[in-house]
């Protein structure tokens, strides 16, 4: 880690302000990406009695649990995908590759931001990604989602303004 940059240690709090934004946005982006590899699956198993033996009725229960894995990958929820299909400004030759890379991009960029690898570039790319998501939501009139992404955009813009105070990062820029 290159915490020994040439600049003197910033005591004004701007370093901590940036670090806060970096951790928040990095974690947010990483987890948003990881969630795209998750799925709630339902399995069937025998109902057990107090001693852990199968219930005398032979009952089988459905138990839901959340699992992660590449096989569970979904770029965006099916309900959104269906809505985007009706949008002429979102042709499938653009959306299909976007869905395919979105989760991977979020994971890589989120991890990069957290670790401080090409911090500014990561912030810019995350900003672009969120902007693309905003465009889709705008077309299907999901105003709440647009506002939610706007907050992210403001945080990213502030982070970029404070990025000269970047510390505790693997790469300098």
């Amino acid at each position: 880690m290159s915490s020994s940059h040439n600049q003197p240690y910033d005591t004004s709090g701007q370093t901590w302000a940036f670090l806060t934004l970096r951790i928040w946005l990095g974690a947010r982006t990483l987890l948003a990406g990881l969630e795209k590899f998750s799925e709630k699956i339902t399995t069937q198993q025998p109902l057990l009695d107090a001693n852990g033996a199968p219930d005398s009725s032979g009952a089988v229960v459905e138990v839901s649990k959340k699992v992660y894995g590449i096989s569970h990958y979904h770029g965006i929820p099916e309900v959104l995908k269906t809505k985007f299909l009706d949008e002429p400004l979102l042709p499938q030759f653009l959306t299909t590759p976007f869905y395919a890379v979105l989760g991977y991009a979020l994971v890589i960029l989120g991890a990069a931001l957290l670790l401080g690898i090409w911090t500014r570039l990561s912030l810019v790319l995350i900003g672009l990604l969120y902007t693309m998501l905003m465009l889709g939501l705008l077309l299907i009139h999901q105003e709440d989602g647009v506002a939610w992404l706007a907050i992210h955009a403001v945080l990213i813009a502030n982070a970029l303004l404070l990025s000269k105070h970047n510390r505790f990062s693997i790469t300098r820029k």
Binding site: Q44, Q45, L47, L48, S57, V60, V61, E62, S64
Partner: protein, 449 residues
């Protein structure tokens, strides 16, 4: 005396749709998967020879579900209607069961010595004579509910079961349904989730439907109908609405829920009052609609149960609901009607969620009108839970499996006739209360076999 068609609670058909429905059903059933007679878990010596008496709508349900059970071989069928017998012969042949076909059950019992079990799915008035004859012939019997259309008929079946020592399972199939078993034994028993149960209610509501029809080419000759007690084909096909053949909607539909009341409360009610009438149909002997109030003396104290059966509206479907001071259990054979509700002041249910007795439902979206106070005394909305137990097979199959396993000595009957009689008396007395307009006490004398 012999057997007839039985048309049960499955969607009813009229003359016009009869042929289409029969053809569609035959085509669909042709794709059903047969069970292996000699499956890996059934030794050849455990294979049971079975006869089916009554091949109407309910008989066909039992036929189909039995075919899914390994180690059961149909060897004979019996019905007074050629149309039904031809159907069953052809259908069973597809599954490798070659059967002998009889019009008269007495002939069948006299000639078929190798039968071990008889499934009875005839109109109610024939349940007692056929079941008793079969038990006296040394057969174990699975008989559809109701046991009979008379109290004496039902009592005679219990007496015969005890005298012959044969098994007599009554077709209250919910008693073998793991969802109901877990609800009774675990939720209400072990966990006592509802606390003291003061109230129950239940219903089976069904939309208006036309009377059942028949293909003209297959009509039974009038002389044959008369021999078996019917005036005409309409009466034969619609026997449920006639008092000499069946018990009306409280018996046909209500028996399902009223049996659950008795089973969960641990015995029959002590009194019943009711009202009902012929509100819509003009050609039925039995009333269309009825509302019944039972009183139970339970170990926890007095509980009252309201039951309604409506054949003029399907509103609300069918369910049984038990309401306690800590929660409410709403059961139905249809999982979509099932839920468990927790009162705000109830004990913590988390331990039972961890054991998979319950599954918390996702919280509903906030109600925008919730800010408007309707009544200051209104109780907060109850938390809702699901019962995660599933049934991966047709509804009647576990009850049939219980019967066949009991014959093999590997289980005990979940609904023997003496137990089912508690429900018979509760229903007969409810019908009496409707017809007389009086509150009726159910005494120890009524329950004496």
């Amino acid at each position: 005396m012999s057997t007839q068609d039985k048309n049960d609670s499955s969607p009813q058909i009229n003359r016009r749709s009869f042929i289409t429905t029969a053809a569609t059903a035959s085509a669909a059933l042709a794709f059903a998967r047969p069970a292996k007679l000699f499956g890996a878990t059934v030794a050849p010596s455990d294979v049971l020879n079975v006869a089916l008496v009554g091949i109407g709508a309910q008989g066909r349900v039992l036929l189909d579900d039995t075919l899914k059970i390994p180690g059961v071989r149909f060897v004979a069928i019996c019905d007074i209607w050629d149309y039904n017998r031809q159907y069953a012969e052809k259908y069973l042949k597809k599954f490798g069961h070659t059967v002998k076909s009889y019009r008269d059950y007495e002939d069948m019992l006299a000639q078929e010595k190798d039968i071990q079990a008889v499934i009875v799915a005839t109109p109610d008035f024939l349940h007692a004579p056929i079941s008793i004859a079969a038990m006296k012939a040394g057969k174990d019997v699975y008989c559809e509910k109701m046991m009979s259309n008379t109290i004496e008929g039902a009592k005679s079946m219990v007496r015969s079961m005890k005298e012959t020592g044969r098994l007599l399972q009554i077709g209250h199939q919910r008693r073998s349904n793991p969802r109901y078993l877990v609800a009774k034994n675990r939720l209400l028993g072990e966990a006592n989730l509802l606390g003291k149960i003061t109230t129950a209610n239940g219903q089976w509501n069904r939309a208006v439907s036309e009377d059942l029809g028949w293909p003209n080419r297959a009509a039974i000759p009038k002389a044959t109908l008369a021999k078996y007690g019917y005036d005409d084909m309409h009466q034969f096909r619609n026997w449920r609405w006639f008092k000499k053949f069946g018990g009306g909607p409280l018996s046909d539909l209500g028996a399902h829920q009223i049996d659950i009341f008795n089973w969960f409360f641990g015995g029959p009610p002590v009194s019943v009052s009711a009202d009902g009438g012929n509100d819509h149909y003009s050609n039925h002997e039995w009333f269309d609609n009825a509302m019944v109030i039972y009183k139970y003396n339970t170990p926890q104290g007095v509980a009252r149960a309201f039951y309604q059966v409506q054949t003029t509206t399907s509103a609300g479907g069918y369910f049984e609901q038990f309401m306690g001071i800590e929660g409410t259990l709403r059961m139905s054979e249809n999982p979509k009607y099932t839920a468990i509700y927790r009162e705000a002041n109830a004990r913590d249910w988390e331990p039972w969620i961890r054991r998979n007795f319950l599954k918390a439902q996702a919280a509903p979206a906030p109600d925008p009108s919730a800010d408007a106070v309707v009544d200051a005394r209104e109780t907060a909305a109850l938390a809702t839970f699901d019962l995660p137990v599933i049934l991966n097979k047709p509804a009647h199959q576990p009850h049939l499996e219980n019967f066949f396993n009991s014959i093999r000595g590997k289980a005990t009957l979940n609904c023997p006739a003496d137990e089912a009689f508690n429900s018979e008396i509760a229903i007969f007395k409810a019908c009496e209360a409707v017809l007389t307009g009086k509150k009726i006490e159910i005494t120890a004398e009524d329950l004496k076999i």
